[in-house]
Structure formats: C-alpha cells, structure tokens
C-alpha cells in the first residue's frame, strides 16, 4: 500500500502520482491521510486502482473518475464523483450538493444522506443513497439509476429524461414531468443488483419507481405552465 499525506505533500503531487500510476504496477492501493476537506482530491484518475481517503473532503472528490475504486472514510463536499465515467466511489458519511452530477457511468454509493440536486443531469451513472436526498434531485437526469433508501425532497426528477428513480421512503413532491411508474420484474432485478453492490440490506419490493411522463419531450405551448 502506498501512503500519501496530503497536508505534507500537496494536491498537485497527489493527483500527479495517481495519474502516473504504472499499468503493470503491483502497488495499486493508495491510502490518503489528512485530506482535511481539500478540494479536487483524486480527480481524473484513469486506472483500476483503489484509493482510500482517511477523512472528509471538499468539492469534486473523485471527479471524472474512470476505473478506480475510491472510498472516503468521512463526508464529502459538493460535486462528489461529478461526471464519473466508470469505477466505484463509496462515501461512508454524507454528501453535499450535486453528488454524481452529469455522471456517465460507474457506481456512486453514499452511506449517509445526500443534499440537494443529487444526480443532477446524470447521463448513465448509478447512484445508491442509503439515507435521504434533498430537493431538485435528478433534475434533467438523462439516463442511469438513482436509488434512495430514505426519503426524497421537493421536486424529485424535475424535467426528467430517461433516468430511472427508485425511492423507498416518502417523496415530498415530484418535479415537472416526473411520475410514479409501475415496478416490473426487470426493475426489481436491477434494484437487487445495485443494492447488493452498494451493500445495502433494503428489499427491492419496498421501493417505488419514478420516471419521465415524457410530456415535455417536444415543445408544446399547452404545457407552458410546466416550464
């Protein structure tokens, strides 16, 4: 295991070392100590490595991740795993705004709660939140899956495209063009798989599915109140 003290060595050295990781190296596990809320930790990784961050982080932790497994033993600031392409990011604590924003792929697991705009504009990423999520989550979400084991705040899935939303608890309100959908066997299967990958013991049958009513897909003046 490679250990890196962020306070001592600085952000540039850290990301540079993570980007320069040799493909054939046996040393693929990193431990990052003293993150102390720093921004842009472990961003832009493009290698199948494991990064364990021993504490809480600031903005954009794991941003644009490809292939890496990133574990945060703490909470994260805004935009964790933003635009993630693949790999897995697991947060032991809570996540601030825009968790998983615009993500294209991979799995983001938040074991605590997520704040507002979780999964905003998501484009293929899967997100599992063990706790609750805030308002305007999955706004303009295009594809991928958002699983919420707790409750969702106001305006869930506003202006939703083709992303799939599953909520176990209460939804305070649905956003424009988001509606409750029938749970079919393939959805239960998908949920089972994601819950297992996210080490969550909730049962797929306990969830309700939400998706796009597809009424705003082509502009129509009769829907103008919804815009």
């Amino acid at each position: 295991m490679l250990e890196f003290d962020l306070q001592e060595n600085g952000l540039r050295k850290l990301n540079s070392a993570l980007h320069d990781q040799k493909e054939n190296s046996n040393q693929t596990v990193w431990k990052i100590t003293n993150p102390k809320g720093s921004h842009a930790i472990a961003v832009g990784i493009d290698a199948p490595i494991e990064v364990n961050i021993e504490g809480s982080t600031g903005y954009y932790c794991g941003g644009m991740n490809k292939l890496a497994n990133i574990n945060v033993k703490g909470s994260v600031g805004p935009g964790v795993a933003e635009n993630m392409m693949s790999g897995k990011v697991v947060i032991d604590g809570d996540a601030s705004q825009y968790a998983g924003a615009t993500g294209h792929g991979g799995l983001l697991v938040i074991k605590g709660n997520a704040s507002s705009r979780c999964g905003i504009s998501m484009k293929g990423i899967n997100i599992v939140v063990h706790g609750n999520i805030g308002h305007m989550s999955a706004f303009m979400a295009q594809s991928g899956t958002l699983v919420v084991c707790g409750d969702a705040g106001d305006a869930l899935g506003d202006s939703l495209y083709e992303a799939k939303l599953f909520v176990r608890g209460n939804v305070k309100s649905l956003g424009a063009d988001c509606e409750k959908k029938e749970m079919r066997p393939e959805h239960l299967e998908l949920l089972e798989q994601l819950l297992s990958e996210a080490e969550c013991d909730a049962k797929p049958e306990e969830f309700t599915r939400y998706g796009s009513a597809r009424k705003l897909y082509n502009f129509n003046i009769d829907n103008s109140d919804a815009y």
Binding site: G58, Y59, G63, M64, Y98, T102, I120, G124, E162, I221
Partner: protein, 448 residues
C-alpha cells in the same frame, strides 16, 4: 368619392406606424396563430452602435506609417500565459468561436477545423461534445465546458489544447438552449446520451457550481485533471463586463472570452436575442479596465466576439485593448451560409438569402446548419475549409493594412488613441473622442 361641395377630398398617402411596423405586426400575427414565441438562430439583427461608428486616424506628422508590403506588421498572439504549461500560440488574432456539432453538421465542423488550421488559428467545440473529425482537422482545438455537459468526458478533455468554461453567450446572457427534435439524428442523440428526435434542453446554469468562489474550485479541478497543461478560458456574455472579467480573473482564468449581443446562437427566442445583453462596442472597454485595474492586461488575454466581420473590426477590437477576436456567424457565411446561389430554396422556406435564420429547423439549403444527410452532401468540407482560410487571411491583411497606416509593427500596438468616434454614443461606449473634438461623454475631468 367623398366631396365637400364640388371639391374632391384628396387621399393622404397610406402611413405605416413606426410603432406597429409591418415586422411588428407579422410578429403579432405569428404569435396569435401559434401560441409559441419565435425561435431563431443568429445574433441581434436590430441596429446597434458598432465598430462602424469608429474611425482610425492613420499617420500624420506626429506619427509615421510603415511601408505597406515592406515593413513587418506582426499578427501573432499567445493565449494562456498566466498558468498553463502549454499556452496556445496563434499566428493570427482571429479565432473560431464555439459552435456545436448538432447545430452544425459534421462536415461543417470539419471545414471550420481545416480553415482555422490552415490560417494558423484555433477552433472551438460547442454544446454537443468533440467529434473525431473536428479534433482530427484542428491543429488547435478549444474544448467548451458547458452547463449541459453533453458529450463531456475526461478523454476528450485531455485531448483539448484549451478548455473554455462557458458561463454565458452574447445572444442570450442568462439563457440555456434548445436543440429541436428534428435536428437530433441518431449520432447527435448518442453523443448527448438522449433519445433520438426529442427536444434537447441545454441548462442555463452549470449543474455543479454557482458563483465566483465555486468557479475558482471548478477551475482547480479542471487543472488538476489536465495536469495544469492547457489554458482555461472563461466565456461570458457582455452583460456586466467589468465585474464578470474581475471575477473570472479572481477565479483563476487564463483568458476571458467576452461575447456581445451580436454574437450568434443556434436557436434562441427572438425576444431574448434582441432584448438582453449589450452591444460588442460597449463591453470591451469595461473589460479592459478590469484587466488593467488588476494588473492583468496582456497577462490574462481578452478574446472579444459578437459581430466581428472584417479586418477593420479586428483592428478596432485590438485597439480598444482586446488580445484577439472570435468569429462565428461570419465564419458560417464564409462557408456558404445564406449564399444567394440557393435563393430559390430560401424562397421556398419563406425567406430570402441573407435573412435565413431558422437554423434550428435543420433545413438549411447550404447544408451547414443541418443534420439532413441529403442537404449535408451539398457542403464540401475541403472547399469550405479553403474558403474560411481565405477569409481569415483577408481579415488579417486588412487589419495589418490599418495597423501599418497607424505606424504599428504589431496589431497589438494599436491603441485607443488611434481612434475617433462618429457618434456620441460610440464615443461614450468606446471612450474615444468624438471626431473633431477632444471629448467623449464620461471623460475624466469633464462634468458630463
């Protein structure tokens, strides 16, 4: 026939209202019939104060000119000298503005890359990601980082020669976009992770940051991902140029792209294009002032866009303090957009060559702003690239002609003192004297 006694009452000539003009009336009838606001492409069409309201003084006894074709007048510019390990070096201070694959066809994007590369300058992606054609044919490609993040991925980010964080554009400060379903081909849809044929709304705000303090952290993230190698530009609409330039510099930008209201868009509400924003002439001095106040003029480069058409516009923008300009609409015209050779087809679409602006409908007779395979065939990217190169060369020669006449051996040596204004408005906006006077409104030391 009305008569008073035996006298015929003469008709007055029919008089149109300046308020309810034929244009206005047709807008009202269109709105009443459809219930939908008018969406169109392009920039502001209304008459505005422009660079045409400025004149160069040329040389005289106190300033001597350089010999036209004998003495050098340099045109190169380097962008991104503040933080980037690899700044962009351009042969000419005229770049190609961001226009999306989706709004434009693949071959049109290729032609922009070919023309820009042949002229020694950069081109820019748009809201829809980077295509291999565009990357392949552009020696210097600026990758736009937009609110929608359509097609955004770290691999393309690392292939870019510069990154442009788009906060706004001159045609619609504070507005997002909408690419109507008829232009969403399978390829466009796939690049944007959306179904084919549905309207694609582009958000007006970035999904994961708001405000200048967040922007600073976003810039840090992009620099960390790209190893501090490439310049990071921030593009803003000409809404509050002094403050936006100040905040972008504070947030760590390498360059500011400032876009006036004549700057085009692929599709936006006409009311937005015509009524929000400021003319390009009015935004350059406040931005330069912000750069100077922070000691960053020429250290953080200013790229001005919005209605730049010829070498005179380039020279005037640079004289007022910009480091470079960007062209979009003009580049499309050079490629063949709105060419009268397609007049009959423009007529069939209810318009005429020179006025066609329904780019969002995807039926462009010139095959440029379309995804229709048949229309696209009309456009030859090699010929288009050659035309754009020629046009860029002509603009550069024109700017050099003016600069030499003003005695400058580099376009960047042009200065506000080389200019006068033809109108009081232009004098106030450009802060150069009204022709024949030594005064402009707001001049320090004057009371009005």
């Amino acid at each position: 026939m009305n008569k008073i006694g035996k006298t015929k009452i003469p008709h007055t000539t029919p008089r149109y209202s300046a308020t309810f003009s034929n244009d206005v009336n047709s807008d009202i009838r269109r709105a009443a019939a459809t219930g939908i606001y008018d969406i169109r492409g392009g920039g502001a069409k209304r008459k505005l104060p422009t660079f045409d309201d400025l004149l160069f003084l040329g040389a005289s006894i106190s300033r001597y000119p350089l010999e036209g074709y004998r003495e050098k007048c340099e045109t190169s510019v380097t962008i991104g000298t503040r933080y980037a390990k690899n700044p962009i070096e351009l042969d000419i201070p005229i770049t190609i503005a961001g226009m999306s694959f989706g709004a434009l066809s693949g071959p049109a994007k290729e032609a922009l890359g070919r023309g820009a590369s042949a002229a020694g300058t950069s081109t820019t992606t748009g809201d829809g990601g980077m295509t291999p054609e565009e990357r392949g044919h552009s020696t210097k490609l600026v990758y736009q980082y937009l609110p929608s993040r359509y097609g955004m991925n770290p691999d393309d980010l690392r292939k870019a020669d510069a990154i442009e964080i788009v906060v706004g554009q001159g045609a619609k400060p504070g507005g997002g976009g909408m690419l109507l379903g008829q232009k969403i081909s399978d390829r466009v849809a796939e690049m944007r992770n959306l179904p084919t044929g549905i309207d694609q709304r582009s958000a007006c705000r970035h999904p994961d940051w708001t405000g200048p303090d967040d922007l600073e952290i976003k810039i840090l993230e992009l620099r960390e991902i790209t190893g501090w190698k490439v310049p990071i530009y921030v593009k803003v609409a000409g809404a509050r140029p002094y403050y936006d330039t100040t905040l972008a510099i504070k947030a760590g930008a390498d360059a500011i792209v400032l876009d006036g209201m004549q700057g085009g868009t692929a599709a936006t509400q006409d009311v937005f294009i015509e009524h929000v924003g400021q003319p390009t002439l009015a935004i350059v001095r406040p931005a330069v002032q912000a750069l100077q106040d922070l000691g960053m003029h020429r250290e953080v480069q200013l790229i001005l866009s919005g209605g730049i058409r010829n070498g005179a516009d380039v020279a005037k923008a640079l004289a007022l303090g910009a480091d470079a300009v960007a062209i979009g609409s003009a580049a499309l015209i050079a490629l063949g957009d709105n060419d009268p050779i397609y007049e009959e087809e423009y007529n069939k679409l209810g318009t005429t060559a020179g006025a066609y602006d329904d780019w969002h409908e995807g039926m462009d007779p010139a095959g440029i702003t379309t995804q229709d395979p048949e229309l696209m065939k009309r456009f030859d990217p090699i010929e288009g690239g050659r035309r754009l190169r020629n046009y860029l060369k002509v603009m550069t020669l024109e700017a050099q002609t003016i600069a030499r006449a003003c005695g400058k051996n580099h376009l960047h040596n042009l200065e506000p003192e080389d200019l006068v204004a033809l109108t009081i408005e232009a004098a106030a906006m450009a802060q150069v004297p009204l022709a024949g006077t030594d005064w402009y409104p707001g001049k320090p030391g004057t009371s009005y």
